[in-house]
Amino acid sequence: MNRSVLRILILDEHATTREPLHAEIAPRVEVRAIAGTGDRQAPMREIEAFTPDVVLIDLDSNTNHAFDTAKAIHERRPGTKLVFVAADFSNYALARALATDAVGCLIKTDPLPDLLDALTRISDGERYYAPAVQRRMVLHAGRPSIAPDAQSPITDLTPRQLEVLRLLAEGRSKRQIAESLHISAKTVGSHVEKLMQRLDVHDRVALARMAIREGVIEP
């Protein structure tokens, strides 16, 4: 078997989970180097310096921050394999993970040997989605998308609309959204209009509730 030696980076805010993860992975999967970061300001700097093949991203402490980082990695270092680790994947989490072409989704309650097996497979170039996640997916030309029977209102949205929805639900103004996504306020307005139409929700309060129900934001 021609397994490549991997550089794995663990992105997890908490040293208390990062360290045991490191300890468990290091002896079992071939890992040349492993590092963790809790640095929320500059994870990209860590990534540029370390050039990991695989980034393990914890979604549970701050889901949207984790996805912002994942998106930045996907855009700036497109070859990097992204693996998400969570207690559970909401439809929103799944949709955003797939938008960054995640090669793995791991669930924390799965048995430890499964998690380690998943990393071995990913290091062999395969994709690995936990059984509970895999059931909600279909493959088109080798790439996963959300299965028709697992659809919910928000799985219909484009990745951009999902981002706008999240910022709206957090209570940001259109102008603030325009600034943080580097697009015009007019474009934001049109995203808002389209996503409200698709969700059939027409005020911000109802939108915030739906966003909470779908796991887009914490209440």
Binding site: H14, P20, A23, S61, A87, D88, T109, L115, R204, R209
Partner: protein, 217 residues
């Protein structure tokens, strides 16, 4: 720092943490024996190899299920003392934890030596709460209780009603009609709610209402 030593039942749904944290804890003198289990919907049938003095519960993964398992294990071992660990975002579980008789509640990040200290303290009959929680609990006649919220912060029944209606998406006019009061009075209630909660937009109020259980999401 306590000098107690305890038999610990450790409930954690995060398989990795259960193994690694369990192993680390066993190295401390505060822990005489440790059994680690995942939470389940029916822990009634669990057979645990030890009679625990302390039940340590991590609430971060599937908190409802973890609380349920804890309550079932506490029924089985009524003398065991529970300690809960959670991320700050699950701080709201302090309330059900106290109802279950929590002798400790620790907010993450929690290092193993701190956890061992808490176990030791609780095993000796003491309590251990993370610094930010200490003003919210009091130790009265051998029991841990929640401190009643400061009066200025609590909303009146009418204000809660208005908050609920705002969060359900009702307009000022609809609220006025439903409650048979003037729109001006609704405005007055809304202003007071916003001032008390220090939240000044409707989306923020909605999130607060969901967080505190005024409405379901």
């Amino acid at each position: 720092m306590g000098s107690g030593s305890a038999k610990v039942l450790f409930i954690d749904n995060h398989t990795l943490m259960r193994e690694s944290m369990g192993k680390r804890l066993e190295a401390f003198p505060a822990v005489r024996a440790l059994v680690a289990v995942g939470a389940t919907d029916d822990a009634g049938g669990f057979v645990v190899a030890i009679e625990p003095d302390v039940i340590l519960v991590d609430l971060d993964i599937q908190p409802t299920r973890a609380l349920l398992t804890a309550s079932q294990m506490l029924e089985r071992y009524p003398d065991a003392r529970p300690i809960f660990v959670a991320s700050p975002r699950y701080e709201r579980h302090l309330i059900p934890a106290i109802e279950l008789g929590a002798r400790g509640f620790l907010l993450k990040p929690v290092y193993t030596d701190v956890l061992a200290d808490a176990i030791s303290e609780v095993a000796e009959g003491g309590v251990y709460f993370s610094e930010p929680l200490r003003t919210r609990v009091q130790f009265v006649a051998g029991r841990v209780e929640l401190v009643a919220t400061v009066r200025e912060d609590t909303l009146t029944d009418r204000q809660v009603e208005v908050l609920r209606m705002i969060a359900l998406g009702l307009t000022k006019r609809q609220i006025a009609q439903d409650l048979r009061i003037s729109e001006k009075t609704v405005e007055g209630h809304t202003d007071k709610v916003m001032a008390k909660l220090n939240i000044h937009d409707r989306v923020g109020l909605t999130r607060h209402a969901i967080r505190t259980g005024v409405i379901a999401p």
